[in-house]
């Protein structure tokens, strides 16, 4: 039985798969831009959880270092994303993404 910290490794995989799926469904179904951002963060954090679990299982620090990379980049990404959102809000006065329908064929 593969374990990390005494908990079977499969449990971690299923938990992060569930979190990841919730994030994906959130991005696809929610209409509020800020909630969509939160769902993307949820996807990334599911990945972080998985990486930490595997890192512990292999006794290998590389996985945890990768988590730091993801956290730092996710912060930068949210900074840019929120800036874009504010720019949009100034012009449209809403964060509902249904307003984004000017570009289509």
């Amino acid at each position: 039985m593969k374990t990390a910290q005494g908990i079977p490794l499969d449990y971690y995989i299923w938990l992060s798969a569930a979190l990841f799926t919730i994030g994906v469904l959130g991005v696809l179904y929610r209409r509020n831009a800020i909630i969509i951002f939160m769902c993307i963060e949820l996807m990334l954090n599911a990945v972080n959880l998985l990486l930490v679990a595997f890192s512990n299982y292999y006794n290998d620090a590389a996985g945890q270092v990768f988590v730091f990379f993801i956290m730092a980049v996710a912060a930068a990404e949210v900074a840019v994303g929120l800036a874009i959102l504010i720019m949009m809000y100034r012009n449209t006065k809403t964060t509902d993404i249904n307003i984004l329908n000017r570009l289509k064929w």
């Binding site: 490794l9 995989i13 992060s16 990841f20 994030g23 994906v24 991005v27 831009a33 969509i36 993307i40 996807m43 990334l44 599911a46 990945v47 998985l50 990486l51 679990a53 595997f54 299982y57 292999y58 290998d60 590389a62 996985g63 270092v65 990768f66 990379f69 993801i70 980049v73 930068a76 990404e77 840019v80 994303g81 800036a83 874009i84 959102l85 720019m87 949009m88 012009n91 449209t92 993404i97 984004l100 000017r102 570009l103 289509k104 064929w105």
Partner: protein, 454 residues
């Protein structure tokens, strides 16, 4: 590697240019710097140096794609010279473009999943900001937001795939993952899920059908010159990364990803080219045609194995040169007509030079000999047939015929429709650059052997 240092240095120079007050000299500095970067990359040819404990390897494939990225960006800066005199915050935007290049070079040379992730993010974060650089324009806003949303969504898939592959192999280095795959007789099921997730994440980045839906919207909404950057530099970097990923890391588990990728290839070729026929705006048509070209490059990628780098390189070079011409002219027309529709009508009477350059570019994209695009397609098809993928080639030939149809639509409207509005003056600088790019297309078409270093 040295070229990467030079590129990052240029970005920093650009950031302080506003303070130190040498904005006017910025473009010449960039051109010199990028030429230096190309020179340094050429000097490294054949050395295959490893950096950062094997996290980046500058082998010949990486170097040739880096050179292509740098050369395209140099032409882009020359074309964008006027753009930088009309927009605000030019030094910041120029720095972002330089960082796009830096991200692209990292994506072309990574040997570790962390480098791939950082390269993609450096490139994408700069582009999100650039796509939204017209702050008061709702189209630009929408393009930036959609690009951001789809970009980070795709990154999520890519990262999940990387995490699962790490879980199965315990490695982030491409070569060590490949070795670990070869050493394990039985891989856990989630490893295959990880491979597919990585492929999906990369397919988002190269805008392959069915992950292409963001591309036409973003290409249309972003400022035209930024669109040309996305269609050339970014596509080159994404394909270089895709190539390294599948052929350096996962050749042993080919049966998992090759069939899905071929299905994606066929879907991309058919759907993008057919949809392009029904577009009324030229910019949107070019966006769909760019998605379609991704299909041809994917065909080269899936059929050629590790030896396909040369074919991909040639096709990307031909495609980038033609796309740069097309978007530069589109940008010039938008400026002249204040973004009015149907501005290509009767272009030959308004500006014969632009009309002829645009015709050469479109003919090259359509694959008419003796232009570069023809040899790009020819090499791809020959390679695919020699590997026994005749069915895929038949589909690709039919879709390229559809391509000829919609490219000729634009050409006909340029030569035979009545013009609206007066003559368009073209500055001698733009004329020179466009002639140079046309010459590149002709030279690559007539003497393709000169451009096949791999």
């Amino acid at each position: 590697m040295n070229s990467l240092y030079v590129i990052c240095g240029l970005g920093l120079i650009s950031l302080i240019a506003e303070l130190a007050n040498f904005k006017k000299q910025l473009i010449p500095i960039f051109i010199v710097g990028i030429l230096a970067a190309i020179g340094l990359a050429v000097m490294d040819w054949g050395t295959s140096l490893h950096y950062f404990s094997d996290m980046a390897i500058f082998d010949n494939v990486a170097l040739s794609f880096s050179i292509l990225i740098c050369a395209t960006a140099a032409f882009w800066f020359l074309i964008a010279n006027d753009y930088f005199h009309t927009e605000t915050h030019i030094t910041d935007q120029a720095a972002l473009v330089i960082f796009v290049m830096a991200g692209g070079v990292i994506m072309a040379s990574f040997n570790n999943m962390a480098m791939l992730f950082l390269g993609i993010e450096i490139l994408s974060l700069s582009l999100y900001a650039l796509a939204g650089s017209r702050k008061l324009n709702l189209f630009s806003n929408e393009a930036a937001f959609k690009y951001f949303l789809m970009g980070s969504f795709a990154t999520g898939f890519l990262l999940m795939g990387i995490a699962l592959v790490y879980g199965a192999t315990g490695q982030f280095h491409l070569d060590k993952i490949a070795a670990s795959i070869a050493a394990q007789p039985e891989l856990p099921g989630f490893f295959y899920a990880g491979v597919i997730l990585i492929i999906v994440g990369m397919a988002f980045k190269i805008s392959a059908v069915p992950f292409h839906f963001w591309a036409p919207d973003v290409y249309e909404g972003a400022p035209t010159l930024i669109t040309s950057l996305m269609a050339t530099v970014v596509k080159t970097a994404a394909f270089a990364a895709f190539f390294r990923m599948v052929w350096y890391c996962f050749p042993a588990v080919e049966q998992t990803w090759l069939l899905p990728l071929q299905v994606i290839t066929v879907a991309t070729l058919v759907l993008a080219n057919v949809t392009a026929v029904f577009q009324s705006k030229v910019k949107r048509m070019l966006a769909y045609s760019s998605v379609g070209h991704a299909g041809y490059i994917l065909l080269a990628l899936t059929t050629g194995g590790t030896s396909s780098a040369g074919t991909i390189f040639f096709y990307l070079a031909a495609y980038s040169a033609a796309t740069l011409i097309a978007f530069a002219i589109l940008n010039r027309l938008e400026l002249a007509t204040n973004f009015a529709e149907g501005s290509f009508n009767g272009l030959f009477k308004k500006s014969p030079f632009l009309a002829v350059a645009m015709t050469v570019s479109l003919l090259s994209m359509a694959g008419i000999p003796p232009l570069a695009g023809f040899f790009g397609k020819y090499l791809v098809f020959v390679q695919a047939i020699s590997q026994g993928y005749v069915g895929l080639v038949v589909v690709a030939v039919i879709t390229s015929l559809i391509g000829v149809y919609y490219y000729f639509g634009v050409i006909i409207s340029m030569f035979f429709k009545e013009p609206a509005g007066g003559e368009i003056q073209v500055s001698s600088g733009l004329k020179l650059i466009l002639s140079l790019l046309v010459l590149v297309l002709l030279a690559m078409g007539i003497l393709p052997d000169l451009f096949l270093p791999l």
